[in-house]
């Protein structure tokens, strides 16, 4: 005869103080997150609401106003559309050219060994080592001599010189991380160097390509300094056009806000579309496999 023993295991609840501090910690984290989010979004919200205000109430500190599209209408009459188009054209062209030239260059630096390879890479980075103002006068004089001031191509060339360094250095890292075995297998299957690069290596580094292209686009899109110095009337970009609303007899706040809102859109749309790749691309290589 033996006695039957029943063991019931009930999970022990943590003491109240522990539960309370856990609750507070969890919600404090949420509260801090919300606070940070508000701090980040507040300037954008302020800018957007100002864009829809009547000009006379632009700087009022209340939200009691009848929204109007006057500022956006005025923008179009001020030929802001042309500046916006110039920005799009310059940013797209310079990004496309940077990728077209920079990606093969990065691939070559990654895959081939040649004398002074590290020196070449360092020289490429030189354009990013000095502040932009150091290049201003030489660029200005060179383009004036070439008769290229106030042209879209002058800006494309300038942005290209700066973007190439970003593309080559970023993409070289991605190519270094991509396994060479797959390329070699492709060669064995009859692919040439370019074919293997196109069909095998590039798809592997797609997140890197996207992240690099986005960074190039943002740099070109938001540049004010070079556009200010190298343009006059024909090739003026959106950032310079916005500063033109700082008039001698007053600042056109609602137009500045409306233009600022419009200028944010392409970058927001672009980054939203490629977010998946962007996060991957920017964090790739963070952990060594």
């Amino acid at each position: 005869m033996h006695a039957e023993v029943t063991l019931s295991i009930t999970p022990s609840r943590p003491p109240f103080t522990q539960r309370f501090t856990g609750f507070v910690a969890r919600h404090a984290r949420d509260a801090v997150s919300v606070l940070i989010l508000l701090l980040v979004l507040a300037p954008f919200a302020w800018l957007i609401q100002m864009a829809f205000r009547p000009a006379a109430d632009a700087l009022e500190l209340n939200f009691q106003f009848t929204p109007t599209l006057d500022a956006f209408r005025d923008l179009w009459q001020d030929a802001f559309a042309r500046s916006f188009g110039n920005s799009l054209l310059v940013s797209t062209l310079s990004t496309a050219l940077s990728m077209l030239i920079g990606v093969p260059a990065a691939y070559a630096l990654s895959r081939w060994t040649f004398r002074q390879r590290s020196h070449v890479a360092l020289w490429i980075l030189c354009t990013r080592m000095a502040p932009p103002i150091a290049f201003t006068i030489p660029f200005f004089l060179a383009f004036r001599w070439l008769g290229m001031l106030d042209t879209v191509w002058a800006l494309v060339v300038v942005y290209l010189t700066f973007n190439l360094a970003i593309v080559i250095w970023m993409m070289q890292g991605f190519f270094d991380a991509a396994p060479t075995a797959l390329e070699e297998a492709a060669w064995l299957d009859g692919c040439g160097i370019w074919s293997a690069f196109w069909h095998v290596t590039l798809p592997l580094t797609r997140p890197g390509l996207v992240a690099t292209a986005v960074l190039c686009f943002i740099f070109s899109w938001s540049d004010f300094f070079f556009a200010l110095i190298l343009t006059r009337t024909q090739a003026v970009t959106a950032p310079v056009a916005i500063v033109n609303f700082l008039q001698y007899d007053g600042w056109e706040w609602t137009k500045i806000a409306a233009a600022g809102t419009l200028v944010m859109l392409p970058v927001l749309v672009f980054t939203a579309l490629v977010r998946k790749y962007l996060v991957h691309g920017l964090t790739a290589g963070g952990v060594k496999d």
Binding site: A55, A56, A58, L59, E60, I137, F140, L141, R144, L149, L228, I229, R232, T233, V240, V243, N244, F245, L246, Q247, Y248, D249, G250, W251, W253
Partner: protein, 454 residues
Amino acid sequence: MTRTTYLYENGVLVPRRKLLTSALAAGAGALLGFPAIATSNKSLKGVTLNTSLYSSPYSKLLRPWIAEFEEATGAKVNFDTPGFPVYNQRADLELSTKGSAFDAVNVTFIYSSRWINSGWLTPLDEYIADANKTPANYDVKDFLEGTLAPERGTDGKLYGIPWQAEVTIAAASRFDALKQAGFAFPQTTQELEQVSKALNRKEGAAGFVTDNHYGWTFVPFLHAFGGDVFRKAPNDLYPTLDTPEAIAAADYFARLLRDCGPDGVVSYNPDQALQSIKSGRSHLSVQGQINLSQLADKSSSKVANTAAWGLVPKGPAGRFPGTAIHGWGIPVGSKNKDAAWQFIRWATSKEILQRAVAAGYASPTRRSDIDSASYRDRQRANGFDIAALTIDSIALSAKQGHMKYRTVAAYPQVDQQLNKAIELIVTNQRTPEQAMKQAQAASIAELRRAGVTI
């Protein structure tokens, strides 16, 4: 063989045919309501003039009328009018590299001495003296002498034709509240402080506001207390920012801003200061008349019916309104100087400036415009004559010569030191004495770096 008959015009012999053409053009111009160009019609055919002026009421008025100049002369005019900071940056770079991108530019007041005395602009005296290039009816003497003075170089030559005269004046947004509190419009620095303190935070408004370009807004007070920027500009450029008078002025001005200004007043740019008083969020202000005259604009000002205007307050040493003159000049690198002069002459002619004044232009430089009934009538608001304030201020400036500090090429560097000093005092980071001594030492270093012998 053709025979040419010559006739006298303005003391020179002119071919009869040319004279008749000019007369016809003048007649046509008068009929069509635009000034005739003195030279023969289409004389600038094939010439492209690149002109630039910062965006302003005058440039906005001028833009649609340029077609008339083009029609009369045959020239093509590119008229670039960027915002003020963009214009200055571009013009400074273009002029300093002696480029030929522009044929006619604005001589910005804050840079005028640097641009003129560095030899980056073309002297205009020979154009004015040449009756072929400048007919007598252009009448340079019609421009107020006080507006011509800043356009002259240290060599005495004229480098710019003034198109805008700005002066610092005082204004009250709620003159009704001021009178209710038992005050008259403040005439002295002491009264200004007294009224600002009494009205501060009353009716939901700060007592006093001005913008943070203290190298411009503080200097009338510096002068009023008997101080100055330099010992004797333009000949003796030893800075005098640490004198007892300068320290007293800085103390007074900073106290006014700290005790009576809106929150964050040291960050207020000219437009924010204007909006603050225009919306009734500040009671009193000392700023440029281009800004403060906008208080009368019923479409954008909430204090149009209660605003009042006066001269800058008088201090122990007197009254010293600031004046800022902007003019048309010809870059030394221009390849179309004669054509550029023709354009400038047209853009600053009596007819064009009269037309601008008739269309509401509020900062004329010609005596005939300032004295005109249409201008004087428009410059009256709530019983105050803003035009008279402008004229009196320019006259005071010309008589006293206190704006000579602005004719110093290296003044922009000292200007920065004044901005910094006042900000440090208002924010209690330095005492007035410490801040002004620091500004003095930094200014001496900056001037020496700029090659000034002290």
